[in-house]
């Protein structure tokens, strides 16, 4: 993004970059940078807090207008309130949770059961936020489940998404599965990103399915499948934590 700032400025557009990773801004010195201390993925800091977001945006715009030297980096020091965990948040599974298929249930059956169990919470989340971000694959969720479980079991089906290679279809379907579960888990309370991700990778069949899927495709002869499976299914932090 810093490079974009350089290129656009050189083409006559005044730019200010909001930066979430200061070392890159220090190295690349785009024209103007507002460094913010927020989670990666949250450049305006706090979802659902218009006043907080306006202050951040206004600070960036003021830097745009007032900077006198190229390469300036200004630090925005106010942390987003949602960075902290919500001590009152309860994950959707209140009691014993499938984490792995039990009693001989297949992965597909267990995942379908989990989807069903999450339906009320998912609907509540969609109503609360007015939208869903499920849709990267364009597939119905039951088809996402069947497709990913087949691959997790070592099969290599045809890509179910017209015009997309199998590896890309896998990644997009995985995006949808994660989005569904994480939206459902945030239907109430204000869980932090850490709480949500911890729940997903530690306590859900979906998380276990994607871990199994990763293991399966990393043994594939398909280079793109191996590449996407290796790095674009399970976040690096959780790969290390889980010893994958």
């Amino acid at each position: 993004m810093s490079a974009l700032g350089h290129y656009l400025e050189a083409a006559g557009i005044a730019t200010v970059c909001i930066s979430l990773f200061r070392p890159h801004s220090e190295r690349m010195r785009p024209p103007r940078t507002l460094w913010v201390p927020f989670d990666l993925g949250r450049p305006l800091g706090e979802p659902g807090d218009p006043a907080f977001q306006r202050r951040v945006l206004k600070a960036a715009l003021q830097l745009l207008a007032e900077a006198r030297q190229p390469g300036v980096i200004m630090d925005y020091d106010q942390q987003a309130p949602g960075y902290a965990d919500d001590p009152g948040w309860l994950p959707p599974f209140a009691a014993a949770t499938p984490g792995t298929p039990a009693g001989g249930a297949t992965l597909r059956d267990a995942l379908k059961e989990e989807l069903q169990a999450l339906t009320p919470a998912y609907r509540q989340a969609v109503a609360r936020h007015g939208r869903t971000t499920v849709g990267n694959s364009g597939l119905p969720l039951n088809q996402v489940v069947g497709f990913l479980c087949a691959m997790a079991n070592g099969e290599l089906p045809d890509s179910p998404i017209p015009g997309q290679r199998l590896a890309m279809a896998m990644r997009l379907a995985a995006d949808d599965l994660k989005a569904h579960h994480l939206e459902a888990a945030a239907a109430s309370g204000r869980p932090s990103s850490r709480q949500l991700q911890g729940w997903f990778w530690d306590a859900t069949v979906a998380g276990q399915a994607l871990i199994r899927l990763r293991s399966s495709v990393m043994a594939s002869d398909d280079r793109l499948l191996r590449m996407l499976g290796s790095g674009q299914l399970v976040p690096a932090e959780h790969r290390v934590r889980l010893g994958l």
């Binding site: 400025e9 979430l20 990666l40 450049p43 305006l44 900077a67 997309q164």
Partner: protein, 153 residues
Amino acid sequence: MARLDDLPPVLRDNMLALPCPDLSPTDLVRPGPLTESTVALISTAGLSLRGEPAFKPNARDFRPIPSPTADGDLLITHVSVNFDRTGFHRDAEVVLPRRRLGELVNAGVVRGAAETDYSFMGATDPELMQPHAEALARELHSQGVNAAVLLPV
């Protein structure tokens, strides 16, 4: 989380190891007062419109996001899984603050917001994005935009 010490070590180390091109300082464009500026938002979150093809790995192109686009039609198809998307799940403004910018226009802080905002998928060699950035600049000029806020992922 984006304070260095707060990042998971593996993520911090991976990001520190990413190559950064050596770019000379760029002379500043003087935008004039904000009250005379029209501002566009440019994201590198890999924002696609629902129903469009996803950004491909190493994509260098940008996608337009016309102002009537509903939040429900914005999807993140970025290749990386190492940034939080749960903020976006709850509120698209945390990634692309179109309404926030509109509120600052209404408050008289800036003159106007662009009719179209844009998204790149930032996980590619930055130098390969240069021709696309220059094409975007031409589009921004044609819209009467003279300033842009660049938003990372």
